[in-house]
Amino acid sequence: MTLDREHLEYPHRRYGMDHDRYEWSMLSERPAIAWPHGKPLALWVNVCLQFYPLNQQGKPFAVPGGMTMPYPDLRHFSLRDYGNRVGIYRFLKAFDRYGIRPSFAINGALVDRAPQLIGTIAERGDEIMGHGLHMDALHYGGQDVDEERKLVVDALAALRAVSPSPVTGWLSPVRNESENTPELLVENGIEYFCDWVNDDMPYRFNTANGGLWAMPLSNELEDRFVIMNNGHSEQSWQEQVCDACDFLLEEAERSGSGRILALNLHPWMLGQPHRIGKLEEALAYITGHDGVFCAAPGELLGHINI
């Protein structure tokens, strides 16, 4: 059996990308970005606050970090819940100690499930981003557009009811999207999203409803990916973060353009007693550099005029 002719045809073989979502552009060729006070490196810490339902449907796939055992998978349900009850408070102490002003990507369903925590976050005044409804409500290719629209609307309505400032950022659960996700986000007042991991700096993303900023929130360096997916030690995670900090500082200085070190964190992972020290060591190392300042994504975008 041979394949159809279409396998040797390349309709998008042309200059630039094979789609129209954004312009092809190399980071090294772009105009320099100047951060405030001449600081070369911005530290952006994002914390994911998540709800993993016990009755996981796994549509279209079982989310990494979700339930893996036959129902009722109490071990994973409760271990994820640990992050919102215990781990997050270790995070907050560490952030205050090192002067970190993080952003929080919050599942909409958590507003009702953990009202005290959401109240504490709102009171701190940190930036809040949409993070879908919960971790079993994925956005995916082929999803009915009205079904997906309701997920976006419900998730944002829950957060906007409690957030003291406008919610204009978004991170899809496990960064999964449908072909309509970017349009639905713009339709619902989102100005930047963090799903695409193809850059280390913000860039403009096209949708049929207008433009979005794509913000660079590294997946390769996040605690869940390094420790759970790759099986590396917490010590190795800390080393990798420090190596990234050194590299980005050097690249920012060499290129004369600001850079962003983005850490995506989960309190159910690094909030454990045996791991929190590694987060603290990493934050101490990074904030110990004069060239580093800490900012949330909305603030960073305010400094970019391209």
């Binding site: 796939f61 850059d199 990798q240």
Partner: protein, 305 residues
């Protein structure tokens, strides 16, 4: 289906004629950056899925795009620092998509070898005629954009047919990176009888195998590269060896990984008697100086068996 591909004969390490490298080097060292283009929405190959999720597979597509937007220049700057010319394993459609990258590599006299058209178009299911057309397209594209035909081939996404290597030899190629059976170049038997060699490319030192498949920590990867070099360098005093580091800009060029790679390059190129070269130069040297001797030794081994 065959139990053995019939591409080479068993030929043990002991007792081989000595390979010597230019300048009396013990080891030929080359770095092979894969510069790839993955399509967001390729036609579905019934034998292998391009992406785990339904379209759009944002996570997999976007991290690979990172390699071209961010990673390429980073790795190139590191290779420049150690006077290493890359031997590029090229998704040849990238000549159309991202000619700026091709231009930078041309300015540095890097080598381009064929890695198919896209890394989301597999050899599986192609007829021999279709595969020949795909390979010829990739060769013509490299020649058109760089002025020179490629000498080497690495099948797209390591997807092969029984005739992949025959077809590339018939199209004028002289070496393959698809085989991992040796630490030296070896003769390869192709149906047309062309003089053709396998050049060690190393799956084990491949950053994507290390990071994605084997999930190695970055600093350990750097140490593995040094250990790999140390042993091949030591053994190269007796019989010339080859070390290759195949890389991908979306893996090795991440901020938390590049330093370990750079330290390994500094270590390796800090030794004397290391021929820092390209895949084509290794293949040409081998075919000119050692191929006949190897063929004779293999024939003698079979005659005495």
């Amino acid at each position: 289906m065959k139990a053995d591909p019939g591409l080479y004969d068993y030929w043990p390490w002991e007792g081989r004629p000595k390979i010597t490298w230019p300048g009396g080097a013990r080891i030929a060292f080359w770095v092979a950056p894969n510069i790839e283009f993955y399509e967001l929405n390729p036609p579905a190959n019934p034998h292998r899925k391009a992406w785990p999720q339904p379209y759009p597979a944002t996570p997999g597509y976007s991290i690979r795009d990172y390699g071209n937007r961010v990673g390429h220049v980073r790795q190139m700057e590191v290779l420049d620092r150690y006077n290493i010319r890359g031997s590029i394993s090229l998704s040849t459609a990238l000549c159309d998509h991202h000619p700026e990258i091709i231009q930078m590599c041309l300015e540095r006299d890097w080598e381009f070898f064929s890695h198919g058209i896209y890394n989301t178009r597999y050899t599986y299911g192609l007829s021999e005629e279709q595969e020949r057309e795909m390979i010829q397209d990739s060769i013509d594209t490299i020649e058109k954009h760089t002025g020179r035909k490629p000498a080497g081939y690495l099948a797209p996404a390591l997807s092969h047919s029984e005739h992949t290597i025959d077809l590339f030899a018939e199209a004028g190629g002289i070496y393959t990176c698809d085989l991992f059976h040796d630490d030296q170049p070896t003769p390869i038997t192709v149906r047309g009888g062309q003089r053709f060699a396998s050049i060690p490319y190393s799956l084990e030192m491949n950053d994507t195998i290390a990071y994605v498949v084997n999930k190695i920590e970055p600093r350990r990867y750097g140490q593995m590269l040094k250990d790999n070099f140390d042993r091949l360098y030591q053994e190269g005093a007796d019989n010339g060896t080859v070390m290759c580091i195949p890389t991908h800009n979306y893996q090795v060029s991440c901020p938390h990984r590049l330093k370990a790679f750079e330290e390994a390059l500094e270590y390796i190129t800090g030794h004397s008697d290391v021929w820092v070269t390209t895949g084509r130069e290794i293949a040409e040297h081998y075919l000119q100086h050692h191929y006949d001797e190897a063929q004779a030794a293999i024939a003698a081994q079979e005659a005495s068996a």
